[in-house]
Amino acid sequence: MTRDEDTFERRERHRVKTLARSRLFGGAVEPMQIGRYVIRSRLGEGAFGIVYLAFDEALARSVAVKVLARAGDAGAEDRMLREARAMASLTHVNVVPIYDVGTFDGRTYIAMRYAEGPTLRDWVERERPPTSAVLSAYVAAGRGLAAAHAVGLVHRDFKPENVFRDEDGNVLVGDFGLARSSDDSDVASFDRARSDDLTLTATGHLLGTPSYLAPEVVRGKAATAKSDQFAFAVALSEALDGEHPFKGTTPAARMRAIALGKRRAGPARGPRAVRRALRRAMSVEPDDRFADLDALLDALRERSRAPWVAGVVAATSVAALAFATTTRVDSPAVASADSPPVVAPRPRARDASVEDAGVDRPSVRDAGAPRRPEEPPEARHDAGAEALAAGDYARAISIYEVRRSEVERRHGARSSALIAPTLDLARACFEANEKQDALRWAKAALDLAERFTEASPGERQAALVLVAFLQLHDRDERSRASATLERVRAGAPVAGRSRTELLWAESIVLRRERKLRPAIERLQSAQASVERGSMERRLLPLLVGEGTLWIALRQPQRAAAALERAVQVGDRPGSTNLDLARAQFYLAMALGDLDRDPSRAVALARRAKASFEAHGVVNARIDDWLDRAGAR
């Protein structure tokens, strides 16, 4: 939606409101003047008070006048005034300038520059700027925040709604310290004017969305520069991903996720180094975060100067990606001159548990050192599959990464032998819910098959199928999937695992076209194509897909049948496999629809919830379901 439409909508609502109000109450309800400022209109209202658009006749300029809610006692009133004065003394190019502070009708008011630009939230949501632009806007906002910290001010309510970006790209942080009213327990109170961000709790009470509150603040401690740092990192992470880093659609669920430090699983956008920095800034313990905001900004700025391979870049051509890798500075492991031009996600930090699996992990540093005796590849493959089945994704991916780099070491970076292990790694990433990494690895394999090796047509087709399948799971690349599928169809027939993936991809396409029954038929063919006895676990997601389609068709009986099989195929003690968790939850839903075996349904949903939480996914749907079942 365009800005014009939105502006129109806001103006129209304001017009209707003013008209209806004046007819109901006459015109004298709003103050006409505060200090020397003539009130033009009301811009918003919240727990903090009311903001007016006003005109400063002496200086002939528009200003925003914020009249603060009455504080509980004189001491609090004094403190607010003191803080407002401190803010007024702060001059920084990235901070909304305060013009004047005073009292009116016994209430404190603050006159400040009227920041017209869209808020960072609106800007990101509407214009979908590239990662680099998002990063630099946030770095600018961070500078404003750091300047405040330098003079001892804490923002307390940093969020994308409080940062403005004008048409020239100037970024201004506003609303310093104002969200806090008379006592600190009120920090969770909300800005009623942005009710799109609010959800009703089961009991029917509106709560604020404390989406940017640091865990220690949730627990009742006072806000500090470190909690501002947390809020900043959450906001930036959300802007990069288009999704809040802590899951939960109800304020309570999100607050719980924040307090527990449970971040959403799955891929995040932006350079890995940026993500790492953000993860650190979002640490539950303030001491684990950066010493100050400047340190975080340094980490971000350093990375944003360097070319990177980011999620956004992944949407561009493979050739562009290849260029990006060779110049990437944060990736010593692949920066040598003869490194492969395929682009791959950076290997993750080594998982200690990999050592337990008896798999050594080569790195640049120890490449020349004596190697441990190598295990047969099959054994490692099984170890990876075993870890995947158990839901031990970090370990599984490490195993597949090691396996791939061993092949690379033995056969070289441009060997077609590298295609298969790269595809396996991509599949493991997909199963681990790291879908962007999965797509990047699959593209790396395709690049290898098409441009740099004498790959067989079968290898090329396998890579192409997996790329198409993963494109269907990527918001930005979804529209390209059908073209990729066309290329698959133009090539040799596919067999084996690729055939399963092709049928699965086709069922997703059909499902999107709302051809649900043909979609089910494809999935059933896909199930039949999984070799019997070899990898029954591969049936699991296909059965889950079938089950959800039956649920959508309001056929809980058939849904339950497919999902029972899924649970049977995937279940093993202690597994937190995400596909299994999905199967368990959907089965619980189907059983609920059938009014069948309620205690088992609740037990299944609880187990699914535990699995999701083990991977940092707070699934509010399960919470809602358990709430409705009266079992939470």
């Binding site: 939606m1 409101k17 209806a20 109000r21 109450f25 918003g44 903001v51 949501e125 499902r511 749907r621």
Partner: protein
Amino acid sequence: MEDRELLEAWRGGDRSAGNQLFERHFDAVYRFFSGKVGGEAADHVQRCFLALVEGRDRFRGDASVRTFLFAIARHELYQYWRTRRRDGRLDFGVSSLADLNPSPSSHVRRTEAHARLHQALASIPLDLQIVLELHYWEDQTGPQLAEILQIPEGTVRSRLRRGLEALRAHLTPQNDDELLDLGHLLQRARPVSSAAQ
């Protein structure tokens, strides 16, 4: 002050109490009419609040002010469409906004998915559209909806279910979760209220 106290004060002549009540509920009432009526929305909003302050005897003791306001607003909306149809024979269980009004004005649409959802909402029978909006956007519970719509609670539940089914039939989901989880999608597509600075 509680809504009920404000309403009592307003009925007693306290305009500032009335204004506070108006501030609390304007957005919800505006949202209710938004896209559903042609002409001047302020007329409808004004009539709702007037009916609220004047309609002492119609106010059931335990209903919340907001629920009562929605009941008034629904009545006002149906009245509006009935008077626009000369024959007056209008079945809101069948007619959708898209039937009544070829180009319903738009709610605020934040994303493409939300736009599709709002489009679909305008395409299902008005009775079903209203029950979904009041439930998912205005957080009205089953008993409250029964009060607003003047139907038994059991009928509310079946109407909600039929509403979701009708909506599903009008949607082309872009991702798999949408199919399963229309309720959440609806909640997220709640129209934006006025943004504060």
